[in-house]
Symmetry: C2
């Protein structure tokens, strides 16, 4: 355990001074929809807050499965409700991969948690680098080329943290065809869809629509500003869901029944899952304008609430982030923690007021 | 993963018929104190429901640490808030034991989760049997004799599920002295205190009071009828807490912030943690009278809300439990799932109305 470093994101955040502009945040600044919390509190007054079955409340699982309606995983039995998408991804890595012989493939830049969780389980993790000169778009040919006999699972986060890139529908079809053409034991794709409701392109791809060996991770954390409610889930086909449920049962038993009830209310009201998306779409337009005006090089923001900008000079993203937080009143996350290929870049979140984002960009441009 | 059997407890519960007497329940039947849920909902309206730091809200951790005030683990930094005590125990086993060389020692009869979690982590698990002819009391000499060079941690659940036995203060002192006298790398004791507030003897022992290499697991699940809130914690000394926090951070990131707020309110109101204990003490007196009247052999109930009774004839507890649930309208848990030495016994919970418990005993006596 001691070999696993604490999160650099939290280390930088801890250096933040009062009055600083915080572009390091990894969670929404909107308030959640209080009506769902109050509905869950009324439910608790009547029913208590008891254990659900390990996989989660059947009514919630039915609503989740029906909402996404992925082929061969559209029934309640295909859903396992977890303590946020963190546990969902952990459970998937732990269950799908055998450290004695399997390897996890991660498309970089990527959120560090995937590789850290693999490390925690003793699973070797290989990186396939998406290219800076292609703005880190998901390069399906590079991913397929990187799959070898030991590769048992591939993580695709889309929309991606940190890059905000979204894998497109035609790319997903080519990925599915390429993996199916390989023969041999299936290679699983773990698509992390936690930013799904924050998508700003017309042709997002969902691997589960086209490829039967897909496990989907998602949550209400970002869509509904409920990061602290810790309700996520896995959606998986019959081949995998039973084993995933077993791991989940021994790791945490069940997710919060109170949080599950909040999610049940959200999935029961048409539009509630995307009610806050309108704010993000408006903010996205302002952010894109601010990025254009900044003179900084940036990665197109297809989804999520991040923007990656290139340092105006130099290539040391950690030094730049420390300079920004210590001397210039800006919290930004150094690109290097997301992969070697994002060294020289900063990840900025744009959930703060747009004026803060604009001022942050000016201070970065002056580095 | 496929090698790990699903829980037999849930299998038996699934066979329950309408109108049956359920003595299989593993959770309180009382309703939780709604005022704490409502206070948390009001807090959420103002503050949202955001991530806490990985180890949990500092205010809650401070209250928990101060409440138990264990020597060298009485500060906020000694507490890690988890998704129920299930994650707490999982994290402890995963962090304290190296599957390549360490062994977990479990004092049987024991809740099956400890051995299952060890199995999930590839950690060998050895059992030391408490003796039926001593009513399964914690036999510290037997435990110390069973410790060998590979033993890196011992699980002591007190009050115990399933036996209801409580390790006593003098026994804890002897255990601490024996372990300290061994020399060599320390052997950790993981005391599962989840039933702590339901204790009916005057001299319960807490290993953390006397032995520095102790990790304590607990939760608000049983004390406050909040099993579904999924708020538990570990209390551990400086030697261990940092590594425990790291594992927790990668497995679930944080426990529910909403649930943490509920716990914060409970720990902030003197007496709230034990408010429901009065009901259990009264029920315990009725249960003991019913057991005496039944003619069945039973294990003295020092704590928790279970009673173990010996089958009046035969020794096959699974066959008896199936006969009871299928033909006699009683859900009871077969002793064998808690260890070979509880074969021939049934575990009965007594959170149902006392008349149900009495009638259940009559039907068991008629087996």
């Amino acid at each position: 355990m001691n070999a696993i470093e604490p999160s650099v994101i939290r280390q930088i955040a801890a250096k933040k001074k009062p009055g600083s502009i915080d572009l390091g945040l990894g969670e929404p600044t909107l308030l959640p929809q209080q009506r769902f919390i109050e509905a869950a509190a009324r439910w608790a007054a009547e029913h208590g807050v008891k254990y659900t079955v390990n996989a989660g409340d059947a009514g919630l699982r039915e609503r989740i499965a029906a909402h996404y309606a992925y082929p061969s995983m559209s029934q309640a039995r295909h859903v396992c409700v977890t303590t946020g998408s963190q546990e969902a991804v952990y459970i998937a890595i732990k269950t799908l991969l055998d450290p004695a012989k399997d390897e996890l493939l991660v498309a970089d830049p990527a959120f560090p948690a995937y590789a850290k969780m693999a490390q925690l389980e003793g699973v070797p993790c290989r990186r396939v680098h998406m290219r800076a000169d292609e703005d880190f778009r998901y390069d399906v040919e590079a991913i397929l080329d990187a799959v070898d006999r030991a590769t048992r699972a591939i993580v695709i986060a889309s929309p991606a943290n940190p890059t905000g890139r979204v894998i497109r529908e035609p790319d997903v079809r080519r990925l599915a065809a390429g993996l199916l053409a390989r023969g041999g034991p299936p290679v699983w794709v773990l698509q992390d869809e936690i930013y799904r409701e924050l998508t700003y392109v017309d042709d997002p791809g969902y691997v589960a629509q086209h490829y039967p060996y897909t496990v989907v991770a998602n949550s209400i954390s970002k869509s509904n500003a409920l990061t602290g409610m810790r309700i996520g889930w896995l959606i998986a086909p019959d081949d995998a869901i039973e084993a995933l449920n077993k791991t989940h049962a021994w790791v945490t038993s069940t997710a919060s029944a109170f949080g599950q009830r909040v999610a049940y209310e959200i999935f029961g009201e048409p539009g509630a899952l995307t009610e806050q998306s309108a704010w993000y779409r408006k903010q996205h337009a302002r952010v894109t304008a601010a990025l254009d005006a900044s003179g900084l090089r940036y990665v197109p923001v297809d989804g999520a609430f991040y923007a990656c900008v290139k340092l105006p000079r130099g290539n040391d993203s950690l030094a730049a982030a420390l300079d920004l937080v210590e001397n210039r009143g800006v919290v930004a996350i150094p690109g290097r923690i997301f992969g070697d290929n994002l060294e020289g870049w900063l990840r900025l979140s744009w959930v703060a007021p747009i004026e803060d984002f604009e001022e942050g960009l000016r201070r970065i441009a002056a580095l």
